[in-house]
């Protein structure tokens, strides 16, 4: 039998209750089971880190935020521009798309040391890693999106004697926007992952560095706080993308 749909209030309340039940179990049942605090600290202990070490957390959030944002913008912009180039030149696409595809199969963890070798230890290599990780899904989606207008739509523009640039701005680009935004949503999370991976490999600043330091020093409450902060950063970026998407795509 099909279940009756939930009321709007219940739909909002249930996930909150679900999260609260897990937090309560985590707080009270895990210590009773003998799980030591250096492996899984309690939620209150983690919350305590936010109170005690707020400025430390913020000092490490800032570089990660800048790297992730800059990587997000640069990686996606490069992908969009290359996609535009590819759909306007099948020769370039045939020549270079397989190389991009090959490049994408290199694991980011294997690529990161090379990027750090090239760009040194500052923020630049982290931005590059975040950009690289955002780049490929957006490129693929954008190429598909720019090519997604139907035959009839192209014929309509042709009958109207539209120029190539009018077809691009009036048809191809608006058609591509929904697909662009679905890859931007993915990129909002992967940009943060890229920045953190970069910080793991060579940095003393940022959430990635904080995660590594806290792990080696058995400061698990700090480690968990850094993890929560990095996931919050991804969520905030994701929400920002959704907000912009809702303003732009109304159909």
């Amino acid at each position: 039998m099909r279940q009756a749909p939930l009321s709007p209030q219940t739909t909002v309340a249930l996930p909150v209750l679900g999260a609260a039940s897990i937090l309560l179990a985590w707080q009270y049942i895990l210590p009773l089971l003998g799980v030591p605090a250096y492996i899984v600290p309690t939620p209150t202990a983690i919350f305590g880190v936010f109170q005690k070490n707020f400025s430390l957390l913020m000092d490490n959030l800032r570089p990660t935020l800048i790297e992730a944002l800059a990587g997000f913008v640069i990686g996606n912009l490069a992908a969009v521009l290359l996609a535009v180039l590819f759909v306007h030149s099948r020769v370039l696409q045939a020549a270079y798309f397989p190389i991009v595809l090959f490049f994408n199969t290199i694991p980011i963890l294997a690529l990161s040391p090379i990027i750090i070798l090239i760009f040194g230890l500052g923020m630049t290599p982290k931005i590059v890693i975040a950009a690289v990780i955002c780049f490929f899904p957006t490129l693929v989606n954008m190429i598909r999106g720019l090519d997604s207008a139907s035959g009839n739509e192209h014929e309509l523009f042709r009958v109207l004697s539209a120029t190539r640039s009018e077809i691009f701005w009036g048809l191809r680009l608006p058609r591509a926007l929904p697909m662009l935004f679905s890859s931007l949503r993915i990129a909002s999370a992967t940009a943060v992952i890229g920045a953190i991976v970069g910080e793991w490999i060579g940095s003393d600043k940022g959430l990635g560095a904080l995660i590594i330091q806290a792990t080696f020093n058995y400061q698990s409450d700090r480690l968990y706080a850094a993890i929560i902060l990095s996931s919050s950063l991804s969520i905030a970026l994701f929400c920002l993308v959704v907000l912009v998407e809702r303003r732009i795509i109304r159909y």
């Binding site: 309509l156 009958v159 109207l160 004697s161 120029t163």
Partner: protein
Amino acid sequence: MPSAIEARQLDVGYGGRQAAVKVLAGLDLTVAAGSFLSILGPSGCGKSTLLRVVADLLDPLGGTIRVLGETPHAVRSRRDVGFVFQDSTLLPWRTVRDNVRLPLGVGLRSLTRKIEDRSTELLELMGLGALSERLPHQLSGGQRQRVAIARALLGEPKLLLMDEPFGALDEITRDRLNDELLALWRRSGTTILFVTHSIAEAAYLGERVIVLAANPGRVVKDLDMRPLKQEGNRCKREDAAMVAAMADLRVALERAS
């Protein structure tokens, strides 16, 4: 009357001149300017292909075609051709009004004449005045086709090509749009080529109906409807002469299929 279309021994196909699969072969067709021609035929007989050649969306493999006395390319470049597709082809991100106004925003560089923004007038004419700020997904199928027709008319084409524009609509809506289309045609004097699968629609709308046969496409029946109709291409669907003409067309269509 001068011809809107003159096709002689027209061959159209896909796959290049050498190994072509011919869709139309040796097609001869003359269409008088200002007339309403219905084109009937089984699927795959090249009805839509013929419209695409006239609209310069497809090059013929052989033969000649003149549209309004010139090449299809010259006519299309000047935007003297309007095209209405079966699926309306409205841009989902544009409002009804902005869809109608599309011809004002693109292709103006090749346009020698000036076209006015008659979107308000056309929207009223098509009964869409109250819907002008809606998005296409908020419209019914019939309303969407009205928008597509209004968009085609905004460009003031001398030749209007319609590829099964009412094929996906219910019968009542289709009949109503048939009457609206005839009223528009009488007023504008535009030449209309109307492709349809419906014998009744072809007979009701056309001053002349041609039936194409498939493999390869050619004209197998050419019926002048004017003797059966009153002034201004007016008729009643249930007139005995119309019913007889439809039976005649059905026989031709069955033979062509």
